[in-house]
Amino acid sequence: MKICLAILLLIFLLSLIQATFLPFNLMVLVVLLGNVFCSANQGFFLAFLGGLFLDLATGGLLGISSLKLLLISLFLRLYSRRFDPTHPVFLGMMGGLVGFLWEGRPDWKEAFFLGVMGFICGLLLRFLSIPQQGKIKI
C-alpha cells in the first residue's frame, strides 16, 4: 500500500514538473519501467493514471495521454512475451520511438533524449540485477 501511494505521488509530481518546466516526457520512461517491474494490471493502471495526471497538469483533453501510454504498455507486454524487455537496446529504441511520435509530429530532440535515458535505465537494470516484472508487487 505504501509503495502504491509512493508511486502515485511520484507520477503526480512528475506530471506537475513536466507541465511546468521539464522539456522532456519522462512519464513515458516511468510507464515503460513500471510495466517492466509490475504485473499487467498494475502496468496498465500506471499508464492510465500517469496519462490522466499529465492531461490534468497540462490542460489537455482528458484521456488522450492515458490512451497513448496504454498503447505503449500493451506493446511492451506483447514484446515481453518473447523477448527481454529490460535489454538496454530495446528500452533505448522504445524510448526513442515514443519520443519521436508522442506529439504527433517528428521530434528528434525528444527521441534522442528518451532513447538515451531508456538505454541508460536498461544498463542500470542489468548492472543492478533488479528483479523483473511480476516479481515486485504493489
Partner: protein, 266 residues
C-alpha cells in the same frame, strides 16, 4: 474456469482503454468541466510554486550550458560592432563627399567643366596628396578646386595618387586679377607668390587701386580663369617702388581640406 493469463491481461487492457475513450468523450463534450475546474485549482497553485522554484536551477544550468554559446555570441557581436563602425565611417565619408558635391553644383562654374572628387590623403607644407591618379584620368597640370575656389594644380601623377601644389607652395606663381566686392570688372592684376608660406600679391602697379577686402582670382593663362583664391588682408604699398604688394589670405583653410575636385575636362 480460470481465464488464461494472457486473456486476463487483455481484459484489463481493454477495460482501461474503454475508460480512456470514455474520458475523452466526456471531456470533449464538456461534461467533465466542473470536476476539472475543481481539481485544476490546487494543481495550478502547485504548478506555480514549482515554476518559481525552477528559476535558480535554470540560471545555473543556463550559465554552464550557455557559457560557450555566450562567448561565441559576444565574439559575433563584437565583429558586428566593428563592421558597423567601418560602415558608419564610410557613410560619414559619403555624406561629406555628398555635401561637397552639392556645394560644387551650387558654385558659379562653367557647366562644361567636369569634376572628379578626390580625398586628401596627405599634407605637407605647400603640398597635398589626393587619392586619385592616372587610373582615374588625372593628368599633370590639371587644376584642383573646392567649390569655386582654386586649391592648386596637379604636379605629379602616379597610378592611384597625385600631388597637388597649393598656392602657398613657393614654386608656384599664379597670375591673378583683383576684383572689388560689389563692383564690376577688375581693379588690378598681379602675380600671386608664396613667401615663407604667406601668400603675397606682387607686381601690382602703383596706379592700380587695391584695398583690403578685395578678392583675388586667377587670371587664366596656365591656370583656369576666374577662380577665387583669396582676399587681400593688408596692402604693403611703398610709393617709391614701382610695384605695390599685398598680403593675401586664402579663402579656404588648406589644412582642413578633406575633399577636393580635380577639373578633368574644361
Amino acid at each position: 474456469m480460470k481465464i488464461p493469463k494472457g486473456k486476463r491481461e487483455f481484459k484489463w487492457f481493454w477495460g482501461w482503454v474503454i475508460g480512456g475513450f470514455l474520458l475523452v468523450f466526456l471531456d470533449w463534450r464538456g461534461w467533465l468541466r466542473p470536476v476539472r475546474q475543481l481539481i485544476e485549482k490546487p494543481i495550478l497553485v502547485m504548478e506555480e510554486k514549482i515554476f518559481l522554484c525552477r528559476w535558480p536551477l535554470e540560471q545555473v544550468s543556463l550559465y554552464f550550458s550557455s557559457k560557450k554559446k555566450m562567448k561565441e555570441e559576444i565574439e559575433k557581436l563584437e565583429a558586428q560592432v566593428r563592421n558597423l563602425a567601418v560602415d558608419q565611417n564610410k557613410l560619414a565619408e559619403c555624406l561629406e563627399e555628398n555635401k561637397h558635391i552639392r556645394r560644387l553644383l551650387g558654385a558659379p562654374l562653367p557647366s562644361s567643366w567636369k569634376f572628379l572628387p578626390a580625398r586628401v590623403v596627405g599634407r605637407k607644407e605647400g603640398i597635398i596628396r589626393i587619392d586619385k591618379g592616372e587610373k582615374s584620368g588625372v593628368k599633370m597640370g590639371m587644376s584642383v578646386v573646392s567649390e569655386n575656389i582654386l586649391i592648386g594644380r596637379i604636379k605629379a601623377v602616379e597610378e592611384g595618387m597625385s600631388i597637388v601644389y597649393l598656392p602657398t607652395n613657393e614654386e608656384e606663381k599664379i597670375p591673378v586679377l583683383v576684383r572689388r566686392v560689389g563692383k564690376e570688372g577688375f581693379q588690378a592684376q598681379g602675380m600671386l607668390v608664396s613667401v615663407g608660406g604667406q601668400l603675397v600679391l606682387e607686381r601690382v602697379l602703383q596706379t592700380e587701386d587695391i584695398q583690403t577686402g578685395d578678392l583675388v582670382v586667377s587670371k587664366g593663362e596656365e591656370w583656369l580663369p576666374y577662380l577665387l583664391i583669396g582676399k587681400i588682408e593688408e596692402v604693403l604699398s611703398k610709393p617709391a617702388e614701382v610695384y605695390q604688394k599685398a598680403k593675401v589670405k586664402p579663402l579656404v583653410e588648406y589644412d582642413n581640406l578633406r575633399i577636393v575636385f580635380v577639373v578633368i575636362s574644361n
